[in-house]
Symmetry: C2
Subunit: 600 residues, 2 copies
């Protein structure tokens, strides 16, 4: 009978939560761990561990709790809506509180016990964000002599920043990552400044090749607090995104220094503050924040290959990040080295403008059609139908975050099998053209490849067909050298060229640390991104979480922010809360600070 | 038993709708009218009447239907959610369709029959807005030579506008009204341009005195499509609103000509198009739209009183709309003529800056404290608690629109009695200071005063206390003349002054028509705003709706848009739909085109 089954599901969750809380209250870590199934996972975003953490197995659970229980002092576990059950797994949205904060979470229960638990810190007690019913009044309804207007306060604040007032956080990089984090910090009242070399927020997009658009659909891309409106296109053109970022920065009052370049950042162990030197307004400014966040972007530090003959080549050569667009190359012969996202975008744009294009594929690439990825890969969580079905952006982010990285590929593989079937004809044509296609190391497709190595794929928005039918030519192999007017591959293939574009990817974000801090710190911090999955470009050991992202690193008070728009939106909250807690002097004992296993 | 009662409520609504639809299908107007209670009201926004219309009583219903049934061809009446009942009145949200469109509505049923019915057109079949699951793709996922980028398309569009491409609609005035309407027209694919003399959207706010903020709370103020975020202050300071409007105009792609001044607009009866002459970029441009919309603002055409001695007065004098703010007047003696919103704002700001201020009250003013208005006046519909309770902005707008103007005061009076009680002490102090306070002609307070005459009130954000305790001095009576350095009232009271501010209000919007078209057209169109309530400044006869707002006027293809932010948001949809229908050549038979009863 339905009603009994419903009670049963709710009751099971309530019972589990009650037992869990009782064990926690008794500080009995083993008892709490025993409530989990074998093969369990607990992912905690800040609430217990002041870290971005996944533990596995009952031992992992017990270890986490043994270390963190006393200082966390968790309580008040309860469901926030009726749990649901499907395929023997109960899903329950929960909330709880800790000594210093309040959090939410998602619990998956099997018959044997808890299978996955996600706990996230959402706010700090006494430092709740001024949103909704706590939104600022805007105007004091009492007149007083010398009262400043909002505009005057903002101008004064801007004038004092870096002079009379030092920021607590400096965010290096004002693309969507820096901007989203800046908005969160503003909301939390943490004095900060976001620094970018470009003249206007959004220029990081405006300045790119003209055909560039977002390849992730709009529901995936919302920034914090201010979602894109209902008429925003599914895939936003670069200039439209640029305009949005500029507007967002302004109306969200993100403190932003444009046309400013960070030259160096030096940490003083004694004062525990950084000295950040910034070129700005024709001079140099020293900022002394407590924390520095590198939001320089996954696609930040270009890999520019060094090849013999580059100095004799008479044509143009540049990395894809410096590609100005196709307009100047009509009728020219262009060789694009690389076969991933940037390569395809650039080849497509060049072809549209009448260039003679050859793509040099050095290794296999995973391609999915954007529409298929959108439908099959993201549709359950980020789509109109998801929204209509009650899956808000926050819920979607939480559901995504609740899938343990260790087993995520198991969820992904069937989706990509569907995509392979849906687009079988497309893949057959690609193969026939000689394109080397892969589905990721274990068939788990795009998102795993993105999480593991941040590269090696193309979300097809049309350019793949050009390769499939030969309108863009394809060559294979490593580049051996350049001559005055050609690219020569290892097998001797000679490709005459007036332009060579190195779509050869980007290095680990700690390359920026090497540039701005020093090599030793970059090495100490280590490789950024990747899971340690022991797949190409993601060597083991298993990290369990993204290396160095959104959490404490081996360099005190140095952090990284970034990822795609979904990650930037979601994880900016947890990074901002960690910074806010330090700003307020709250205790933030870090559980299992990550070790660095790779230098880059 | 609850379950029987619920079935009963739903069943009663379903039965009523079925009977109503049957009568409509049979084209039996009297039968349909008989389903209404005596003392009933039907307000139709475009769907049936291609007008903004309220009819009263069974005769009114029958007349509306007799005229409109055949062309409207309505069908598909059904509830969109479970109806509710309170105090013997059932409220039911409904939807329906017509020959050309789809609509929504709100029905109130009593035992005797339908009491109030609101029907609104929401979309035109075949011309649905590209929102949500119809949002534009953003990028064609198929490459083609010569494909333009979004930016190129926008630039081309902007260059062609007014040269190779004529807009279908010219919107005169680019404040929040023009901008909201511009966004709606853009969404509906109606070629339009919004024209404003200021250099940037939002300047209409930036250029005002520095203490100016919105007096309506945020939930009331959202613009279409893109609501203010959760951290937006309750009462936005002028510069913050200015920034929002500027960015809204950009990201919503509103076609906007700044720094442009309309000089004239002439209607050609033969071609049925306007010739609109615009000063722009150092020259003159002629636009030939089919329609012109005056969005010049309720507070548009200043009333500048002509008084003897203005030419000999040695100090400064200006209308409140030209007041630069208080900064230059510290220590100066200032006389502010008027006692409504602008007067209080300006007196308050001047006092804060150390001016010596006297307010000259010529007639009574209705004052409510902003917090009380927000709580008691608006709280059920526009507040955090309303939102939390499921009253979305659209629902709130619909509920508000569903209350017939004829009886709206009955709903308002109790609210103002509450406010009088809550703030009794405040009103007592005001009275003691000699301030002449009123509660509207019939005690129905602010909103009715606003709807009837658009003036005569102050939403108190602090300045009233200055008058109550004498920090701002109070004088009474009409101004007789000015001397070289004083304002002299009719009773001889002499008020020395270095600055006189005429906070003497604004004229009817058709004053702009007189300026830009001609006096004859302005007179033909007649007074704009007001209900014909036969209360001060709102002479009868009863109009039933706002004169000339958002609907066809006595001048073909001339329209007015505006109102407060809530009206601008809600009614911009209906005005845009009327324009879209004409743009698409759909039949738009207007029921009971309003007559003009007053010239201004």
């Amino acid at each position: 009978m339905t009603q009994t089954t419903e009670l049963s599901v709710r009751q099971r969750v309530d019972d589990w939560l009650a037992s869990f809380e009782a064990a926690l209250r008794a500080r009995d870590a083993p008892a709490a761990a025993a409530l989990f199934a074998p093969g369990c996972y607990w992912r905690d975003l800040v609430a217990f561990t002041w870290n971005i953490t996944t533990v596995e197995g009952r031992d992992g659970i017990a270890d986490l709790l043994t270390t963190t229980l006393e200082s966390t002092d968790p309580a008040g576990f309860e469901v926030t809506e009726e749990p649901s059950e499907a395929g023997g797994v109960i899903e329950a949205w929960i909330r709880f509180e800790t000594a210093t904060g309040r959090g939410t979470g998602l619990l998956r229960l099997k018959a044997e016990g808890a299978w996955t638990l996600l706990t996230t810190l959402r706010e700090l007690k006494g430092h709740e964000e001024a949103l909704g019913d706590r939104r600022p009044q805007g105007v004091e309804h009492e007149l007083a002599r010398g009262r400043q207007s909002w505009k005057e306060r903002r101008e004064q604040e801007a004038a004092a920043l870096g002079r009379d007032e030092q920021p607590y956080v400096v965010v290096i990089g004002g693309g969507q990552g820096g901007i989203a984090l800046g908005a969160r910090l503003r909301q939390l009242g943490v004095p900060a400044v976001v620094i970018d070399r470009n003249a206007r927020p959004g220029d990081q997009w405006r300045g790119r090749y003209k055909s560039l658009c977002l390849h992730d659909p709009v529901w995936y891309d919302h920034l914090p607090y201010l979602p894109f409106p209902a008429n925003w296109p599914v895939f936003a053109p670069k200039d439209k995104i640029g305009d949005w970022l500029e507007m967002y920065t302004k109306v969200m009052e993100v403190p932003y220094w444009a046309s400013s370049t960070v030259r160096s950042a030096t940490f003083d162990e004694a004062s525990r503050r950084w000295s950040v030197v910034v070129d700005r307004e024709g001079g140099s400014v020293e900022l002394t924040p407590a924390h520095v966040v590198f939001a320089t972007g996954m696609s930040g530090k270009p890999n520019y290959p060094e090849l013999p003959g580059q100095d004799v080549f008479r044509g143009e050569q540049h990395h894809s990040s410096r590609h100005p667009g196709p307009e100047a190359y009509e009728g020219k012969r262009v060789v694009v080295v690389g076969s991933n996202n940037s390569a395809f975008d650039i080849c497509g744009a060049l072809w549209e403008h009448g260039a003679d294009v050859t793509m040099v594929q050095r290794s296999s690439t995973h391609i999915v059609k954007s529409a298929s990825l959108m439908d099959i890969g993201l549709g359950d969580l980020y789509s109109e139908r998801a929204v209509a079905g009650g899956v808000s952006t926050d819920k979607a982010d939480m559901i995504f975050a609740s899938i343990p990285y260790r087993i995520m590929h198991e969820f992904q593989i069937p989706l990509y099998e569907q995509m392979a079937e849906r687009d079988a004809e497309f893949y057959a044509r690609l193969e026939k053209a000689g394109f080397r296609h892969d589905w990721g190391a274990d068939g788990s497709g795009l998102f795993m490849k993105y999480l593991r190595r941040g590269s090696g794929y193309y979300i097809d928005v049309g350019a793949a067909d050009l390769v499939a039918d030969g309108r863009v030519k394809l060559a294979h192999g490593q580049v051996d050298h350049l001559t005055e007017d050609a690219v020569v591959l290892e097998d001797g293939t000679t490709l005459p060229a007036g332009l060579v574009v190195y779509a050869t990817g980007y290095g680990s974000m700690n390359g920026w640390v090497a540039d701005l801090v020093d090599a030793a710190t970059a090495e100490k911090v280590g490789k950024v991104w990747g899971l340690g999955s022991d797949t190409p470009k993601d060597p083991g050991p298993w990290e369990g979480e993204q290396r160095n992202m959104w959490k404490p690193t081996q360099q005190q008070n140095l952090w990284f922010h970034g990822g795609n728009l979904h990650q930037s939106r979601h994880y900016s909250l947890y990074l901002a809360l960690q910074l806010k807690a330090r700003y307020e002097g709250l205790p933030t004992p870090v559980y299992r600070l990550q070790e660095s296993h790779h230098a880059r």
